[in-house]
C-alpha cells in the first residue's frame, strides 16, 4: 500500500505513514478548527491498511507537542483502531514522545494508554521532541 505523507501546516501535524515498512508517525502540533479535515485522510488510510497487517509488527510514533480538544478526540479514535487491530493479532508498538518538562503531553500519553489493552505502549521522554 502506498505511503501516506502529508506535510505539516501551521495548525496540523506532519503525517508520515510508511505502510511498506510498517512505520507510522505523526509529528508536530494539531489544532485545526475542523479536526475531521485533518484526521479524515488518516482514518481512511488506517481503515484500508490495518486489515492487511496480519501478525506483522507495526511501529506507530506520536511526537506531538500540542493538540486541541477536538484533535484529542480524533487521537482517541485512532488509538481504538490500533487497539482493535492489535486484538486481532497485529503486533502494534506505540511510542508516545514528550519533552521531559512537558507534564501535559506526558499526562495525555498516560490517559490514552489506560484504555489500550492490546497495543504495546511506550511513554518516552526525549529532550529533542519536536
Amino acid at each position: 500500500m502506498e505511503s501516506l505523507k502529508i506535510a505539516a501546516t501551521e495548525r496540523s501535524p506532519e503525517v508520515d505513514f510508511d505502510f511498506k515498512h510498517g512505520v507510522l508517525s505523526l509529528r508536530g502540533e494539531s489544532y485545526p478548527e475542523d479536526a475531521s479535515a485533518v484526521f479524515g485522510p488518516i482514518f481512511e488510510a488506517l481503515e484500508r491498511f490495518l486489515p492487511t497487517v496480519g501478525n506483522r509488527e507495526i511501529r506507530v510514533d506520536f511526537d506531538l507537542t500540542y493538540f486541541n480538544s477536538s484533535s484529542a478526540k480524533a487521537l482517541m479514535n485512532m488509538f481504538q483502531m490500533l487497539d482493535n487491530s492489535a486484538a486481532g493479532g497485529a503486533r502494534i508498538v506505540v511510542s508516545w514522545f514528550f519533552a521531559p518538562d512537558d507534564d501535559t503531553m506526558k499526562e495525555f500519553g498516560e490517559d490514552f494508554s489506560e484504555d489500550l489493552e492490546h497495543v504495546v505502549f511506550n511513554l518516552v521522554a526525549v529532550e529533542s521532541a519536536a
Binding site: 501551521e10 495548525r11 489544532y31 485545526p32 478548527e33 479536526a35 500540542y66 486541541n68 480538544s69 477536538s70 484529542a72 478526540k73 482517541m76 519533552a99 518538562d101 512537558d102 507534564d103 501535559t104 490517559d111 489506560e114 484504555d115
Partner: protein, 183 residues
C-alpha cells in the same frame, strides 16, 4: 485630541494588565497569528513551559468556541466561502497570574445548556475534571455541539481556579456571554 484619546484608551488596557485584546471578527488565521504572538511574548518573559502551554491551550479552545458558537456571524462568498464570527478575546496578567477572557453573543436558546455545563465544571475538583475529560473523550459528539463539552473541560483542566462566567441579557433572543480563566 486623537493621540490623547487613544493614549488614554491604551493606558486603560495597560492598567488592567492586558497583553493582547482582540475584538471583532475572528478567523482561524487570526487565531493562529494571535496565538503565535502570545507564545513568543510569554517565551521572551521566561514564562515556564507548562504555563505557556496552559495559557495557549485555553486561548485556542476559547477562540475556537467563538468561531463555532458566536451568534454574531457574517458569511458569504468572496471567491471562496467565508464565515466570520464576532467576539472578543483578552489576555493579561493580574496578581502574578495570567487571565484569559472570552466574550461573544449567544442565542438565548443556547444559554441554559451552556450555563449548566459551566456550573457543573465549577463544582468539580481537578480529579473529577480529569475523569470527566476521559469520559467525554470516549463519547460520540453530542448533536450540534461539535465538541463543545470537551473544549470546556479542557479549559477547566488547565485553569488554576474554577472558571468564572456571566451572561448579560441583550434582548429576547440573545445574551452577552463572557468567561474568565486564571492560570
Amino acid at each position: 485630541m486623537l493621540a490623547k484619546y487613544f493614549r488614554s484608551f491604551k493606558h486603560d488596557l495597560d492598567q488592567r494588565g492586558i497583553i493582547f485584546s482582540f475584538s471583532g471578527y475572528m478567523s482561524e488565521g487570526i487565531l493562529y497569528s494571535l496565538g503565535d504572538a502570545l507564545r513568543q511574548k510569554m517565551a521572551l518573559e521566561d514564562t515556564d513551559v507548562g504555563t505557556v502551554k496552559k495559557v495557549f491551550s485555553v486561548f485556542v479552545e476559547q477562540a475556537q468556541n467563538i468561531i463555532r458558537y458566536s451568534a454574531e456571524k457574517v458569511s458569504g462568498d468572496v471567491g471562496k466561502s467565508v464565515e466570520l464570527s464576532s467576539g472578543m478575546v483578552t489576555i493579561g496578567t493580574e496578581n502574578n497570574r495570567f487571565f484569559i477572557v472570552c466574550a461573544n453573543v449567544v442565542h438565548a436558546s443556547d444559554e441554559p445548556k451552556l450555563r449548566q455545563r459551566l456550573e457543573k465544571l465549577q463544582k468539580m475538583d481537578k480529579e473529577a475534571i480529569k475523569a470527566y475529560y476521559k469520559e467525554q473523550l470516549r463519547e460520540a459528539p453530542e448533536e450540534q455541539s461539535r465538541g463543545a463539552t470537551i473544549g470546556l473541560i479542557e479549559i477547566a483542566r488547565r485553569a488554576s481556579e474554577p472558571i468564572e462566567f456571566d451572561f448579560d441579557r441583550i434582548d429576547a433572543e440573545s445574551f452577552f456571554f463572557c468567561m474568565k480563566v486564571s492560570i
